[in-house]
Symmetry: C2
């Protein structure tokens, strides 16, 4: 039987990796000032999906799910604003 | 008390939205034949993170988590191959 604490740690690392994956995209966009090839729909659909995940996390009282999804939404909103500004 | 079935449905819709968010990015990339602005690290880190989620899903016996993450990894691998081919 695998200890619950290790399963939680696995979940936290998984959530942190998925969340942090948007950081290199932000850095790349900031450096090149170019986000034309990134789809608005990618970012918007992720934000809507992750808002539902937050609801799921609140009902299940799961702070890993809530925290990870709030962070990813914030990073995605930064990307949306950057793309909007660079596209002008 | 909210029924468990509705919570599961919320989770399934949330997972489906996050997974399907990569479809417009694939369509946009296919149309423009251009994915230069999309970061390899975005896709690679998401794949690693979601592989860990699959492990978490297997341990927790949660087929929504397993299915959603396998689908998202497949879509991300398609994007990686497209970006590699278009960058030649």
């Amino acid at each position: 039987m695998i200890d619950d604490i290790w399963v939680s740690i696995l979940g936290i690392i998984a959530a942190a990796l998925v969340t942090s994956s948007f950081i290199p995209q932000i850095v790349k966009g900031y450096r090149t000032k170019h986000l034309d090839d990134v789809s608005y729909w990618l970012m918007i659909t992720i934000c809507i999906g992750m808002s539902l995940w937050i609801g799921y996390g609140i009902i299940k009282n799961d702070f890993v799910i809530i925290g990870a999804n709030i962070s990813t939404i914030i990073l995605n909103m930064i990307l949306v604003v950057m793309k909007f500004r660079y596209s002008k």
